[in-house]
Structure formats: C-alpha cells, structure tokens
C-alpha cells in the first residue's frame, strides 16, 4: 500500500512541467560565458595589445556580462522538464524553442554529478545519455538532491534505495593506499610536460613581472649562474619529475576519491570524485565492449585498468558518449567484473588466432623506414641513431608479435596486444553491429584477410588471418547476431 502511494507520489511529482533550481542561472551563465570566450578569444587577444580597444574594454565587458546574465535568466525560465507518457519531455531554447521527447525506453544511462558549488547548495546535476546519435545528450544541471535522485530512479527504472541501504558490498572500492598506487603509476612524463606547457602559456602575460625579478638579481649571481648552468640540468630533471609525480597524484585523488564500483539489479554503478562527485549507472546489457589496459608501471604494482565502452558515435570520442575507466584492478577483480558484465562462468577460449608473419614484416618495414630521416644527419650519429632505432624496432615488433593473440570462444571474441603498453579488448558476438572482411592485393596473393567486428562502441580488428578462417569467423559472428534475441542495447 505504502509502495503504491510512493509510486503515485513519484509519478505526479514530475507530471507537470517544472523548472530547475534558480541557481541553474549560474550554470547557464558560466556555460554561455565559456562558449563566448572560446569563440571570441582572438578578439580578447587583440584587446591585450591594442590601446584603443582597451579604452572601451570596460564598457564592453560590462555589456557582455549584462547580456549573458539576461540570457541565462531567460534560459533558466524557458527550460522545463516533465514526464509524460513514459517519456522525458524537455522544453528549452533561448531564441528557438525546442521540444525534446526522450522515451524512457531509449535512455542509455542516467548519471548524477555534483561539483563543489552544487554541494554547497545541496544541488545535483543529472545527465541523460541516449543511444548512439551525437548531441542527443541532455543535462539538467541544478536540482535539489532528493528530486534529482527520484528523477534518476524513474528514468533508469531502478528501485529507489540509497547506496547505504544496499546490502551488497562493492565490487571495487579504492582506498587511500590504492589511490596512491594509481597516482604513482600514471604517465608522469606526459603530466609533467602538460603542466610545464600550461605554466609557460600562463606566464606570457606576466613577462614584465618575470623580467623585473631577473633584473633584481645581482650581477654576481648572474655570472655564477652562467658559469654553472650545467649543474642545473639534473636539478631541472628532478624538478620536472617531481612535478610530474605530484600532478599525477593530485589527479588520481581528485578523480578517484572514494571511487567504488557496484553491480546490482543488472546494472553497473560507479561513483566517486573529490571536487565533482559523480555516480554513473549503466545497465549491463548496454555495455558494448570491455577494454583492459596496463602500462609497465601498473603491471609492476600488480593492477590494470578497465574501460567500459557504451554505444557511441565514433567521431565523438571523449565528449558525449561515456567511456568509463575503472582503475586499479587486480586480476581477481578483473575476472569478477568480466563475469558480471559478460558471462559467468567465463566461456572457454576455443581457438587462439595469431596474425600471419607477413603482418609483422609489414609493421617492421614501416617502423624501420622511420630511420631514414636520422641518416640525413650524417657522421657518427647518422649511423648510430638509425642502427639503434632498427634494433629497437626489431625487438619491439618481435615482442608485439609474441603478445598478439585473438581468443575466440563460442560467444565472445577477445584481442590481446601490445608489449609495454598492453591492451585487451573483449566483445560479445551477439552485440556486433556489422562484420566485414577486408583484404588488399598484397594480402590476397598470400590468401590472407582482415576481419573487422564492429560493435556499437568501435571495432575489433583482427589482422592477417587465413581467408578460410576469416570466413568461418565472420559466418560464426553473423550466425550469433542473427539468431540472438538477447538485449544488446
């Protein structure tokens, strides 16, 4: 009885068009402001240089701020949402009115997010992912937390329970020690390079300040620095490394604070975050592909990371379609995750395929051809560098050849490759969207083909296998797709 009343209560809660919390104005303002800045940044750059423009800049900025504020208020006013006939209906639009109807059936996933300013006011952001097509993502940026949770429950058809009420322990929970490890095993080199790049970019406007500091340094010191600059190289490298590690650690903590993964009611639930708390929920049938990655450092620390791929548009990698990364998994957890997302018990791998050596020969040729530019240097280095490169390439290709493996089971296909950076992709035959056999005149003569199994989240590419094996694999995949009535989306 109580449940019924609650259900009724829920359905009436969103039956009338309603607006977001007033503070969504702030969100609209920031969003529009950012778009504005990004599209007119050359004008702002000009502002910094031209005296005449600078005279008017105060007035111009005031005008822009006023305009943006008015736009944000109107946008907030015009943005309404409600639930009607099992569909989320959204009216929005500043100048052009837009009505969006998203059947609840078609909703891929509903995520909640909470950044620091939303946390202060007890608000929550809600993001609705719909299948495949680009730009079909909807964001409701400011809702009272209880309303946001209820709306999420309705849209994702889960039972309204809070995480603490749940009895099942999380599959993965990252504690501080793990977080530390994840931070330590990231790509410090890249992080350091990015941060130094950022520092340099931001330094430019403050060049005057920097030069005034360098002017203040006494001439004696200057002479000393000039004479002993070689000593600063190791110091610089140390600093570079330290910045890299620090940035990696900070990044890991901010991103994966209180990170946990749960599997319940046929959905994968991922939550965490420091400044911006997030909670993603993906129904298991909607997981299209599974990708394991590990670097040398990560393997030394004994873990890998998993990326969960959902259906997405292929050109919109990164923005839009959510590719979720779960870091810091040991092999037992990986297996548990695989079992939960795909089949348990794991199907036996019946056939292991490897690309023909011609594939590796081609690879090797391509890699060593990169040595030619080095030869142009001439002299001692012109001989040494190409030789080192060729040896390294041969070694790398040889190892890659060893590691590459396609595992075919009755229901799944997995691809393992990479030597230092190892990757594994796992897809289920019945979720394939299309299958193709590709070959070219060089491969055809050798009786070889590539097979491409396309999932809704990208392809599994199996290179250079014998024609008849390729055809078998293709026919098997097609048979699984065409016979299957299992949910794939």
């Amino acid at each position: 009885m109580n449940e019924q009343a609650e259900e009724h209560n829920q359905s009436t809660l969103f039956s009338e068009p309603r607006r977001q919390h007033v503070l969504s104005v702030v969100r609209f303002f920031v969003k529009n402001g950012w778009t504005f800045l990004r599209s007119f940044w050359p004008a702002f750059a000009g502002l910094a240089f031209n005296e005449n423009i600078r005279l008017y800049s105060g007035a111009a900025i005031a005008l822009i701020v006023v305009l943006l504020s008015v736009a944000a208020i109107i946008e907030h006013w015009k943005y309404t949402f409600h639930i009607e006939n099992a569909a989320l209906v959204i009216h929005r639009g500043l100048i052009e009115r837009e009505k969006l109807v998203i059947p609840i059936e078609r909703i891929q996933a509903v995520h909640t997010e909470q950044s620091w300013w939303q946390r202060i006011f007890g608000l929550n952001g809600l993001r609705v992912d719909t299948a495949g097509s680009a730009g079909a993502e909807v964001e409701i940026s400011a809702l009272r937390t209880d309303l946001a949770n209820q709306l999420r429950h309705i849209l994702s058809k889960e039972s309204p329970k809070t995480i603490s009420e749940r009895a099942i322990p999380p599959l993965i929970h990252l504690d501080w020690r793990m977080l530390l490890k994840i931070g330590l095993t990231q790509n410090h080199l890249r992080n350091a390079a990015i941060s130094f790049g950022a520092v340099l970019a931001f330094m430019e406007p403050f060049e005057d300040v920097v030069s005034s500091i360098t002017d203040a340094v006494s001439p004696v010191w200057k002479v000393l620095i000039r004479a002993l600059w070689v000593l600063f190289i190791p110091l610089g490298i140390l600093l570079f490394g330290m910045v890299g590690v620090l940035v990696s650690m900070l990044g890991a903590v901010i991103k994966y604070h209180q990170f946990q993964v749960m599997i319940e009611e046929g959905a994968l639930e991922i939550s965490g975050g420091f400044f911006r708390k997030f909670s993603y929920r993906i129904p298991l049938p909607k997981v299209q592909m599974f990708e394991l990655r590990s670097s040398v450092l990560q393997r030394l620390a004994g873990f890998e990371s998993v990326r969960i791929h959902q259906a997405r548009t292929q050109d919109a990698t990164g923005n839009g379609g959510v590719n979720l990364t779960i870091p810091g998994l040991n092999s037992r957890q990986v297996q548990a995750l695989e079992q939960a997302v795909f089949a348990a018990p794991r199907p036996e791998i019946l056939s292991k395929l490897k690309p023909h050596d011609f594939h590796w020969f081609r690879r090797w040729l391509l890699r060593i051809s990169l040595a030619f530019p080095f030869m142009l240097i001439g002299g001692f280095w012109g001989i040494l560098l190409p030789m080192v490169w060729v040896l390294w390439s041969t070694w790398a290709v040889w190892n890659a050849r060893d590691r590459f493996q396609v595992g075919v089971s009755a229901s799944e296909c997995s691809l393992k490759w990479g030597w230092l950076h190892r990757k594994k992709k796992l897809g289920v035959f019945h979720k394939m969207q299309r299958v193709s056999i590709r070959t070219n005149f060089l491969l055809k003569r050798r009786g070889l083909s590539n097979v491409v199994l396309h999932t809704a989240a990208g392809p599994l590419f199996i290179p250079c296998i014998p024609d008849e094996v390729a055809i078998r694999l293709r026919d098997w995949a097609l048979m699984r797709v065409e016979q299957s009535s299992d949910a794939w989306m």
Partner: protein, 195 residues
C-alpha cells in the same frame, strides 16, 4: 577422421567443439553454418559502369586540361626545360589515373550485393577489397539518396545505418532504383515485425 581435422583451419575445429550451454541450446549444424557464397552476388547495373567511366573520363579531361596538357606543351614549345617538380606532379597524376582505371576495369565485376534471409552483404574493391555484412536486426534506419548524375543514370545509393557510428555504415552506390525501393520495403516490413 583425425587427419581430416588436422588439415582444417584452427577456427573451424574450435567452433566444432563448442561446449553446449544448457540455456543457449543452439542446434546449429556447424558443417552447414550458412556461408556467403561468392558466386551468388548480384552485380550492379551496366549503366552504373557507364556512369563511373564517365566520371573517370571527366577527371582525365580536367587533369589533361589543367596539368598534363600545359606541361607537355611547355616541353615541346619552350626553350627552357620544364621544372622537375612538374614532371613529378605529372607522373603522380598519370600513376594515380592508372590505378584508378585498373580499379574501374577489374573492380566493377567485383562490386555486388547479396541479400540473404537475415542480412545484406556488399562487396567491392580491386586494390582494397571489402565484404561488409549488416544483419537486418541491427539496422537502425535506411536511406536512399540520389544526386543529379545518378538521377540521369537512374541509379541510387542505398545507405544502411547501424548503432554506434556517425556516418552510414553500409553504402551501396549504383543500385537500381526500383530494386533499392523493394529492398527498403522489405527492411521496413522486417522492422515492423521486430525481426
């Protein structure tokens, strides 16, 4: 029996010994796994060949008018030698056109469509061959498009879209218009049945 199996490809053996899962009791005779037979493909109409050759002819004409002609004219009539870069450009163009011509000449007969009970396969390409199959139960929507040139030649492009990619996933250019419409009607009917 043992020896017979050794000669067969590894994948075949693997699939033959697939374990039977009690909940997915497929009664699939693996020897009779439906195959895509290469001789059952239906070729494109002859007018489409004409259309492709006329496009090729047009490009040859333009290339001749813009690059090949002037370079040859220079070499014959002017005192100064033609700069080397032009010869390289000329060679690249001639080579490119040759590759294209061979593609058209040898590749047209490869182009073809095969419609089976549950899927559609399109194959094409001499230099780079592709045989792409889209199962009907994965098609999101379909489209028939026709530009001015294809309207003249009464052919059209059938586009099939599946999930997870922005462009058309299967493009069949040069289809007979009537045929494409019939095919689409069949697809719609299947979609209606939820097949």
């Amino acid at each position: 029996m043992q020896e017979d199996e050794k000669t067969r490809p590894a994948c075949y053996l693997a699939l033959k010994s697939a374990p039977v899962n009690p909940f997915e009791n497929y009664a699939v005779p693996l020897d009779g796994l439906p195959e895509i037979e290469s001789d059952s493909f239906e070729g494109m109409p002859e007018r489409y060949r004409t259309m492709r050759w006329s496009v090729f002819g047009l490009v040859v004409f333009v290339a001749t008018a813009v690059v090949v002609g002037p370079v040859v004219w220079w070499a014959v009539n002017e005192e100064d030698p033609v700069p080397g870069i032009f010869w390289i450009l000329l060679a690249a163009i001639v080579l490119g056109l040759c590759v294209w011509a061979i593609e058209e000449w040898k590749g047209f007969s490869i182009r073809g469509v095969l419609v089976r009970d549950h899927d559609l396969t399109f194959r094409s390409g001499y230099w780079v061959f592709e045989e792409l199959t889209v199962p009907f139960n994965r098609i999101q929507h379909s489209e028939i498009s026709q530009g001015p040139l294809s309207r003249w030649f009464q052919v059209c492009t059938l586009k099939l879209y599946t999930a997870g990619s922005s462009g058309a996933n299967l493009r069949v250019p040069g289809m007979d218009v009537e045929q494409a419409k019939r095919l689409r009607a069949m697809l719609d009917e299947r979609a209606g049945r939820g097949a």
